[in-house]
């Protein structure tokens, strides 16, 4: 059914901290590793070791230079994946009923057995979250690791999406954004978490925490750039005499 549920019991999603993300790509590879054998398996690669490698990934990390209005600039690493929107047009455009949003937890999923691979959902997603698997002939997308978060074979600590489990800097947080008292909701509130492309009205569940403002005057403590890397010549005495001899 591609009509959206009027409300979902939970709004499971991610809060991604752009201040602490170091762009190490651990979430990217961990996602690929888990999901290549998970719910949406396989995540096909075409010519993976060749000159024109291509393949399906649910999570991709971009890097930007953000030149701020105050004159400062920062390098920001930006993980991009499905935001499990509350108004996911990728679901409503689906002609077959393969795409759906779960009423229980708000996760947006694809039933691979119903997908005809028309690609319209990827056109309807402003964020580029859906990718076509040319080998299987169906669309693939992030499942928020439904095969981890409810998996009773894993220890409770491991029942988080693979990307969250892999992040070495704790930049990725998983939880219920529909509950205002959940740790992720509090974190998003305290750090001013924002929606991506709010103008389009898709109402993403995932929130991004913008980098914290730089401490005033912090550049004073930074190492100064030196003009020349060669040491200054000695100005007098025995060493100055040696320097003159060697410089001839």
């Amino acid at each position: 059914m591609t009509c959206l549920p009027t409300a979902t019991q939970k709004k499971l999603g991610l809060v991604i901290d752009l201040d602490t993300c170091v762009g190490c790509q651990a979430c990217v590879t961990s996602c690929k590793e888990w999901n290549a054998g998970g719910h949406m398996a396989p995540l096909t690669d075409i010519d993976p070791y060749g000159a024109d490698a291509d393949g399906v990934w649910f999570n991709r990390v971009h890097t930007y230079e953000h030149s701020r209005a105050d004159g400062g600039s920062a390098t920001v690493h930006f993980p991009r994946s499905c935001l499990h929107c509350e108004e996911p047009a990728c679901v409503t455009v689906c002609p077959t009923g393969a795409s759906y949003k779960r009423a229980a937890d708000g996760i947006v999923l694809i039933d691979e057995d119903k997908c005809i691979g028309c690609k319209l959902c990827s056109w309807a997603c402003p964020y580029g979250a859906r990718e076509f698997d040319a080998v299987v002939g169906v669309m693939k997308k992030c499942t928020l690791c439904i095969d981890r978060i409810y998996n009773e074979n894993l220890t409770p600590d491991d029942r988080v999406p693979a990307c969250v489990a892999a992040c070495p800097t704790g930049a990725r947080h998983f939880g219920d954004l529909g509950d205002p008292d959940s740790p992720v909701s509090r974190l998003a509130r305290e750090r001013g978490g924002v929606d991506l492309m709010p103008e389009l009205g898709y109402r993403p569940v995932n929130k991004y925490l913008p980098p914290r403002p730089r401490t005033a005057g912090s550049s004073e403590h930074a190492a100064r750039a030196t003009g020349s890397t060669s040491p200054a010549p000695p100005t007098g005495g025995f060493l100055a005499w040696v320097d003159r001899i060697l410089s001839r």
């Binding site: 752009l18 230079e65 409503t92 964020y127 492309m197 913008p210």
Partner: protein
């Protein structure tokens, strides 16, 4: 957006086929269609062949065409599903119209009603095709009030130009049909020029700043997540050089509007074999013109995901 030939051919062919059904059904409903078996057989046969060929072509775009039947199920939310249903339902009055005209040799009130239903079904199909594109918010050039009326105008124009040629081929020249075809070409031309004028000033509905949550100042992409093209870039990141776009717009205008308009005006002025020749020339010139126009419709459309790759500001 990637201009896939299967989809370009699909929208062009079903546009012409449904346009022909709209014109044919309207003329029958108004009692203006000459009762001629050959005319009905060729025009209805051509319309249904174009629709069938277009629908078959659209399946080449699918990853799993054998599951195509599932596309009829989600009419509550999906314009693509509505299009699939409307395109199939339109075959029913079209076949009934053919039976009434060709088998039972009738052109009475009942045939007129069937013709009206056939025209309405074909118009609904073209409307749903337009809405598939017009409803996509991430694509600035499609999500405008120009898109759906444009699809309808192009369908009716190509339908009139085709029917005019068929009338001429069976030696049934019709001045009213020629005037209608010229008016339709003129309207579609003006509409396309207005669409291009509007789209050339369009900005994407978001910015690199709102796409990344990095507010204020400038956001510059310095590293992509992948070294080669991926699906997202191949499908949504297609870009066309401005000089090629300008040349192709001239070609589309020449073939889709200017030559057919001049040819039908000439057919209006002269009689006999010369008129037949120019009416057929209008069809031959318009076909590549429409295909190029439809190619540009895809190639010039920009998607918000390109903001993440620094391809748009």
């Amino acid at each position: 957006m990637h201009p896939a030939f299967s989809v370009i051919f699909f929208t062009s062919a079903t546009g012409a086929g449904n346009g022909l059904l709209i014109v044919l059904g309207t003329l029958a409903a108004l009692g203006l269609l000459p009762h001629d078996q050959l005319l009905a057989a060729t025009s209805l046969g051509l319309a249904l062949s174009l629709n069938a060929a277009g629908l078959i072509s659209s399946t080449f775009h699918l990853g799993r065409p054998e599951r195509m039947w599932r596309a009829f199920s989600q009419w509550r939310s999906s314009w693509l599903s509505r299009e699939a249903i409307a395109s199939m339902l339109t075959f029913i009055p079209a076949v009934l119209f053919g039976l009434a005209w060709l088998v039972f040799d009738r052109s009475d009130a009942l045939t007129a009603v069937i013709g009206a239903i056939m025209a309405a079904g074909a118009a609904c199909t073209v409307f749903t095709t337009g809405m598939i594109y017009a409803s996509l918010k991430p694509i600035a050039e499609w999500n405008t009030r120009f898109t759906t009326p444009g699809y309808l105008a192009f369908a009716i124009m190509t339908g009139l130009v085709l029917l005019n040629a068929i009338f001429e081929l069976w030696s049934l020249p019709d001045g009213g049909l020629q005037v209608a075809a010229m008016l339709a070409i003129g309207f579609a031309w003006v509409w396309k020029l207005a669409t291009w004028r509007h789209n050339d000033r369009l900005k994407l509905p978001a910015t690199a700043g709102t796409a990344t949550s990095l507010a204020g100042g400038e956001v510059r992409s310095i590293e992509w997540p992948h070294t080669q093209q991926n699906y997202v870039l191949k499908e949504m990141g297609y870009r066309i050089a401005r000089k090629h776009s300008a040349a192709l717009r001239w070609f589309a205008q020449l073939c889709a509007f200017a030559i057919p308009l001049a040819a039908i005006a000439l057919a209006f002025a002269v009689d006999g074999g010369a008129a037949t020749l120019t009416a057929v020339l209008a069809v031959v010139a318009q076909a590549p013109g429409i295909l190029v126009e439809r190619w540009l419709f895809f190639a010039e459309a920009r998607h918000t995901v390109t903001l993440y790759y620094g391809l748009e500001s």
